[in-house]
Amino acid sequence: MGWNRLKWFFPMLILAGAILVFILRSSVNDYILSIICFAGINIILAVSLNLTNGFTGLFSLGHPAFMAVGGYVAAILTFPVTRKAMLLPALPSWLAAQQWSLLPALILGGLCATLAAFLIGFPVLRLKGHYLAVATLGFLIILQVLITNLESFTRGPLGLNGLPLLTNLWWVYLWVVITIYVCWKVKHSSLGRSMLAIRENEMAAECLGIPLSRTRIMAFALGAFFAGVAGCLWAHLVTAITPTSFSVIMAFHLVVMVVVGGSGSITGATIAALMLTSVVEILSPLEENLGAYGISEIIISIGLLLILIYRPRGLFGTQEPAFLVKQRQRVSGEVGRSLSYQNGKGGTS
């Protein structure tokens, strides 16, 4: 019975979400809609960052860098040809003639971010802990410098503005569903278990034949793909993109989401992303009214401290809520029961 309930639970949830998107789009004003879109993008980012920082135990601060790669690639591709001729006259002609729609641009942006992850993953993923954090931070800064100086493609520090507003709540919702689905599948597969094994005990994982660097790079690259997609969505929602759009502060916020939600918990990352985005949005009018700018940062930091003190493993730890994973446990529970039965039989005969 539990089986059937869960078999229908996820499709129903997706459907319910879609209905909600439909209702929201026809009832809420554009400002609130865009906030909901940002919340969705943050969910994509937090859940995908969880692949490295949560599952595999790699403390990466490089997520905004992959967003930047994805965002810029997609922005150059979707820019109307006429505007491109004006803003980016030095663009190679084959690129200047492109004017893609959102979906292929999203995917290519994601793939370019993945490629970047592979390139920096090989040298950087030999490092651990703080060293890795510093190295990924370095990558973010290198990328910002690169974007600033590649003026013929990016207009340097001016950035690209007036991008077509292609992102809407449907697109964001689609990618939220895809991201959560893929990460969920990964977590409950043998690949996901091997990632968790590396986080828990690297030496034991190696002894059991888990290829450490390959698994790490897989986690890193997969996370980067979704970060790239999120970067594209972000760029086409804000309709402008500059080298400083994707900053260290953003990396900090994303890491906070993963830590608050619980390293390794997809549900936790989703809820934390929603919470954090709404807290910032609720507090910003307060900041303006009181003239106390920065108060939201202070409140978030205090909240983070409280969680680290009282719930150091985050809201959910590594787990997902029990009612969502019952299916899997029930199946293995049945195997276990038949086992102990056979054990008993084996013992008496």
Binding site: R193, E200, C207, G336
Partner: protein
């Protein structure tokens, strides 16, 4: 089955193995005893590919009629898939994962889903407590249960040769006996075992043959009984006066 020929290895800058040679034959239990720092653990990790030896050869033949392969430079994951499973020292469970997940990670390189299920069953027959606690996180198990989990997890890769590093470490004597009985049973079912032990008395009792290591070299070898009766071994490792 396994032949280590004149293996030299460094851990960082320290010269640890200074020419170790040993042999494990099919279906044997071989013990490797010696004081702390003699190089026993390093010997195991050069075999399983976690540490690279600088000089020497390691040859492995999974079955008596299989061809012998040089595994000196083979990466660790390939060595596991060839049939060598290494249980590192000190009960290295994945504490946040449950017992079942720990066991499944042991079968990481295997694709035969049904055989994995029947091996899970086999492991739970060997260690019924693991079946009972399958949904508990491994970190919440007692020391003895964790040791059983580590051995069970290593068996999930279907090893032909099991490398065990100090299974008795920090366990009550009665539990050590249980574990050693299990090893005997696992061996009787066809798995060859190379055992590193501080508990020389138990190890020499269990093993058909044994090697004594001192400061990076094998200094003595013989059958378990021969060594147990050897005057020097008795003095140095069995506490005789």
């Amino acid at each position: 089955m396994l032949e280590v020929r004149d293996s030299h290895a460094y851990i960082g800058q320290t010269y640890v193995l200074k020419g170790v040679s040993l042999e494990v034959r099919h279906r044997e239990i071989v013990a490797l005893i010696g004081a702390n720092g003699a190089g026993k653990t390093t010997t195991l990790s050069t075999i399983s590919g976690l540490t690279r030896s600088r000089r020497g050869k390691i040859l492995f033949r999974p079955d008596p009629d299989a061809t012998q392969r040089d595994i000196t430079r083979v990466p660790a994951e390939e060595i596991v898939s060839m049939g060598i499973s290494h249980c590192p020292e000190g009960r290295q469970v994945f504490s946040d994962l449950n017992v079942w997940e720990n066991l499944l990670i042991g079968a990481y390189l295997r694709k035969d889903k049904q055989a994995i299920q029947s091996d899970l069953q086999w492991v739970c027959e060997l260690f019924p407590i693991l079946g009972d606690r399958r949904r508990q996180s491994a970190g919440s198990l007692s020391g003895g249960e964790q040791m059983m989990l580590v051995i069970g997890r290593a068996l999930m890769s279907r090893p032909r040769l099991l490398l065990l590093d100090e299974p008795s470490l920090g366990l009550a004597p009665i539990l050590v006996e249980v574990i050693f009985e299990m090893l005997e049973q696992i061996n009787a079912q066809g798995t060859t075992i190379l055992l590193v032990e501080q508990n020389a008395r138990m190890a020499l009792e269990l093993a058909q043959r044994a090697y004594v290591m001192e400061t990076g070299r094998v200094t003595l070898s013989g059958t378990g009984r021969e060594l147990a009766e050897n005057e020097e071994v008795r003095k140095a490792y069995l506490g005789a006066t």
